[in-house]
């Protein structure tokens, strides 16, 4: 089971056991990260699943679609390493991935 290292908004870190095949968002939410609201359930409509991905993991992620890019552009907290976690499928290759929950918009 791939491990996900999450840092929440209060700066605390937590390691979650992920499930491959589910999205990173589903894993974070299922792992009890309450700050991930994911209101649209992964439909790329809400941007409430915004995370920062540690640089070393960025390159290994599937490319960002135009839709994800557009939606992220609504966030005042967007950074170089911003991603919508619902658009990232979890896989064993991502074992150890480190992400930080982005601030609320």
């Amino acid at each position: 089971m791939p491990i996900i290292n999450v840092t929440t908004r209060d700066g605390r870190s937590k390691a979650i056991e992920g499930r491959a095949g589910r999205s990173l968002m589903e894993n974070l939410r299922g792992g009890g990260i309450e700050e991930i609201l994911a209101l649209c359930g992964g439909c790329c409509s809400c941007a409430t699943c915004h995370v920062y991905v540690d640089d070393e993991w960025l390159a290994g992620l599937p490319a960002m679609s135009d839709d994800e890019d557009d939606l992220l552009s609504t966030s005042g907290a967007r950074a170089e390493n911003s991603r919508l976690s619902c658009q990232i499928p979890m896989s064993d290759a991502l074992d150890g991935i480190a992400v930080t929950v982005a601030p609320e918009d």
Binding site: R29, G30, E34, S45, D66, L71
Partner: protein, 400 residues
């Protein structure tokens, strides 16, 4: 012996007789959001989430989309794990239906006879699907499980109602190789909530995918089908509160913080009749995940001591086939509908205006307009129609 049993029963009931600082009725989108936001806002009192359903709380949108289509499993769309609620001291009370509310005693009485008292009552009981005899509805996980059981062996399916749920169900079912007839008594789809351009576009697309759409009456004879589904809207679940004297009618009236006219009683979500800052000048109900979540968050913060009027931008989505439909704003009482882009291309937007201002957009496979159109609505900018409909001008360049 008899006495002992009575005493035991009494004792058991006694153990259940309980009080919560905040008692939330309804475990849907609004109820769960209220509980989570109470804790996020630092509320330390006791919180219970009571509802009629026995399932661990789940999201409704997948019911008519990925779950019906078989692309999501039952446990793929729970809001949170059971541990999550336990860890935060949110007591889940499943399988209880509130029948009456006593605002003076600050108590609710359930169909089981159980009575619970409260400091604050949060009414997030949503709505009940209107049913047709012999037809399935799509409102709860139990509804869709029963529907899927029969669908497996059905080949001819009648869907009554051309609203969002009827259309999503038609898309999910026709893809499974079934013959689908969709009957809409109006002359167009989504007549209640969207403009004509979207109705026409969706009708054409559904027909191209094989859905047999019939407008106007009379509805086809259900006897000609193996399975009938009604997607004909909901009745807000306001009865117990109205009976207790709360103001309302088609729902429970609430103010900008989510307070009903009864002291210590709040409401949010599908059931809440409210004046939406982005809506018309009359109380309305809004049936969407955004509204349920944000209005519940608003009342939770107010209960936790941080009252701020509900002012969130409305948004909504739907998925049918490969179409991603996204709506921002509320199009009620629009007096003008502008089409931006070519519907035939499968990517376009519709802008709704009222008195010259953009109040809502429906976007089809056009996330960019959905995202940028929000600015137009927020700022209330007046822009010439020919500029709004020029797909080469990004909407964000049109706001001042």
């Amino acid at each position: 012996m008899r006495r002992r049993r009575d005493r035991q029963r009494h004792h058991r009931r006694g153990a259940q007789l309980s009080r919560f600082d905040v008692l939330i009725i309804g475990t849907g989108h609004a109820g769960v959001a209220a509980a989570i936001h109470l804790r996020q806002a630092g509320f330390a009192g006791s919180v219970a989430l009571l509802g009629e359903e026995t399932e661990l709380p789940y999201e409704r949108p997948p019911l008519s989309k990925d779950y019906l289509a078989g692309a999501k499993a039952r446990d793929d769309f729970r809001f949170r794990s059971a541990d999550f609620y336990a860890e935060r001291g949110i007591e889940l009370i499943p399988g209880e239906r509130v029948k009456t509310v006593d605002p003076e005693a600050r108590s609710v009485r359930c169909a089981s006879g159980r009575t619970i008292t409260f400091g604050e009552l949060v009414w997030t009981a949503g709505g009940r699907a209107r049913r047709l005899p012999g037809a399935h509805a799509i409102r709860t996980l139990a509804d869709v499980d029963a529907l899927k059981d029969e669908l497996a062996s059905a080949s001819r399916v009648l869907i009554v109602g051309g609203g969002w749920i009827g259309l999503e169900a038609a898309a999910a079912i026709v893809k499974q190789g079934k013959k689908v007839v969709l009957a809409e008594r109006e002359e167009r789809l989504l007549a209640r909530c969207s403009g004509r351009a979207l109705s026409d576009f969706l009708a054409a697309r559904h027909r191209a995918e094989g859905v047999d759409i019939r407008f106007g009456g009379p509805s086809p004879d259900p006897a000609d089908f193996d399975l009938v589904i009604a997607g004909i809207g909901i009745e807000p679940e306001a009865g117990p509160l109205l009976a207790a004297g709360a103001e309302g009618g088609d729902g429970v009236a609430v103010d900008e913080l989510g307070r009903t006219s009864l002291p210590h009683v709040w409401a949010a979500g599908d059931v809440a009749l409210h004046c939406n800052p982005f809506g018309p000048d009359r109380p309305i109900r809004v049936e969407s995940v955004q509204h349920a979540t944000d209005q519940a968050a608003c009342l939770a913060k107010a209960i936790a001591g941080d009252p701020r009027p509900y002012a969130a931008m409305p948004w909504f989505w739907s998925n049918q086939f490969d179409l991603k439909l996204q709506t921002v704003g509320l199009s009620h009482d629009h007096d003008e509908e502008l089409v931006r882009g070519d519907p035939a291309s499968g990517r376009f937007s519709i802008l709704y205006r009222r008195a010259g201002k953009v109040i809502a957009l429906d976007c089809v496979n056009m996330v960019r307009d959905y995202v940028q159109g929000r600015l137009l609505i927020e700022r209330g900018t007046r822009v010439a129609p020919d500029r709004l409909t020029d797909p080469d001008l990004p909407l964000k360049t049109l706001v001042d």
